[in-house]
Amino acid sequence: MKFLGRHKLSRQIFIYSVIISVLPLLLTAAASYNIFSRSSQAGIRDKLIAISDGKDALLDELLSSISAFIVERASGPTPVAAFEKLSTAFKVSGIESQDYKLLDSFYKKAFQKYLDVNDYIYDMLFISNEGDIIFSLKHERDFGANINDPLLKGTILTGLINSVKISLSPAFSDFDFYPLSDKPALFVATPVFGKDRLLGEMAFRIKPEALNNFAQNYIGLGKTGEILLAKGSGGEVIYTTPFRFKRDAALAHKIKIGSSAAMGMQRAVMGMTGIGLVQDYRGETVIARWQYVPQLRWGMIVKEDKYEAFGPIYQLRNVYIMISFLLIGLLLWAAFVISRRIADPIETIHEGLRIIGGGNLDHKLEISRDDEIGELSRMFNLMAKDLKESRERLVWSERLAALGKLAGFVSHELRNPLGVMKNILYYFNMLELGKDNAEVKENLDMLSAEIEKSDRIIGDLLEFSRIKKPIFHPGNINMIINEILNRLTNYPNIEVVKEFERDMPDIDIDALHIHQVFYNLAKNGMEAMGGGGTLTIRTALEGDFIEVSFSDTGIGIPSENLGKIFEPLFSTKVKGTGLGLAICNMLVSGHGGSIEVKSEMGKGTTFTVRLPVKRTI
């Protein structure tokens, strides 16, 4: 993969973008999740505490009202009278006697209304000081028995009555199986007093539903919510209310104290109060509030399964995780795009620099953008172009310098032999060798012509090798052209047309150099029109440049030669050395100007020299 492997810049931009965007996102998400989670948990705890405290208050009220009810009834005239009469009838005649039955039937009717008033009362008993159950509304198996009989001994009723006898105050029994009805039972009992003595005890058998209904009211709790009561007995926790989803659990489900299950309830039955995450009787993790119920010496627990209680938190967490993943994906994508967008062009430019540094100045950056990077790449391309041009100029001038050296050397070395040849020819002429022999004379003339030609070539070469830096003085281009035209008078069949700029400013030039350039160009133009023609010389001020063009109506230059025409030693003329235009080009370049050529075969050629008005070199 290219984008993270090799390119440091895009990798850095990518990593930093990710850090500055993803980290705050994650921190914010984590922080807000944390706040929500804490407040939700606190809310759940508060709810459990509120329900638990409420239930405790209700239970207290229920038990207190039952307790108050029995105390109030036990001191009323009817029960006291009934107790005395029934006690006597039981003792004297027995429960099968007519006397007792009459009384029994009478008081059944009278006391039935207690049951009507209080739903939770199942049965009502009178227990005499001798321990005989002398009255019962329901006439179940305990009726007529003695609490110390083997049948009743050890039951919760016996325990309760013995306790009340001593304390002489109302009390509740334990909640347990009552063997005589084969059901769980709870009794409340209070002493009954006659005019001056204790008559016995009055007891209500409370329906288990009284507790169950209270416990099974799950208002405020979720689907897994439970309110349970349990007692501690014999090293065990014994549940006294049915489970929400297991009706027959009351007194049936037991947990050993010290085991890992139902820790909350274990603490509650030991008198502790608290809240927290614990395992319940099923081994399920729940959030639970446990507390002790002193009236019954029981524990109470209000709980909800953790997954339900914390459901909204988990839901929110999942939503946060989902959104975070989505956003992170989006941010990664954005960071990738940004890093590529910034780094790509820089890499392109870097690559471009490498290529150009390697020498390929024709390389162009292909970045078409409207921003600063686009501008940068345009400037880069421009720079490369300038570099290429200046390098070409440098190569050109180096070549010219080398050629100049060579030309200087060659011409220097050829001068002496050429001089000797001239001397010999001169001497032959002194001797008038060709005077009487036309053939000899012709050959001597040819020799002379060839020597002249060689001499001219050497002259050109020398001139080329001696080109020096220009020395600038203000000069007028129009005037220089007039001067050279005065010298070029050997071409009678050429018409010269001058189209001069009227307001030609003086500019900084080396007059000798410019003179030589214009002389060469004018002479070339004239020589190109052997059979006559028109040479138009036009000068014009074009912006920052003065343009001077020489247009002839000569034979023209083939297009394949146009590109080479300014190269040294390139010539199409029989007599040419191929240095004239090269020298012109060099001299014009030395002025910071340029020279160009346009030609059409058979129509003519135009050389245009551009010289800067303000000196740049």
Partner: protein, 132 residues
């Protein structure tokens, strides 16, 4: 021959000397040639020359100005003209030195046309002696 004009041409190029001698002799001068400094100084000791034409650079030998200085020791007032090509800066310096030492300032530039050398000789020797 009484009134004859003696010329000395000094050049390491023997053919140059020889062909110039041909022309100048034909013009009526008595022309001597030398291709080295020792030969030159020997000739100068032997003979009084009206004009010495001396190449500035003699390959592997003293240059023309140095030879001129030694000639002056032998014959103060001797007239000499240099001929040379366009050379490097070194030559320009030597040319200045030559003028300061009293050499003729008509320096002949190579390639020399025979007419030029004849004109120069005529100029400093008072015209041709032996008509051609």
């Amino acid at each position: 021959m009484a009134g004859e004009i003696n010329l000395l041409i000094v050049d390491d190029d023997v053919n140059q000397c020889k062909t110039l001698k041909n022309i100048l002799d034909k013009k009526g001068y008595l022309t001597y040639t030398a291709s080295g400094s020792e030969e030159t100084l020997r000739l100068v000791r032997e003979k009084a020359f009206d004009l010495v034409i001396i190449d500035l650079i003699l390959k592997g030998d003293k240059n023309g100005v140095e030879i001129f200085k030694e000639m002056k020791k032998i014959r103060p007032g001797i007239k000499a003209v240099l001929f040379t090509g366009y050379g490097p800066e070194e030559e320009t310096r030597l040319l200045h030195e030559a003028i300061e030492e009293g050499m003729l300032d008509d320096i002949l530039r190579k390639p020399i046309w025979p007419e030029e050398i004849i004109n120069t000789v005529e100029k400093y020797t008072g015209g041709e002696k032996n008509g051609y």
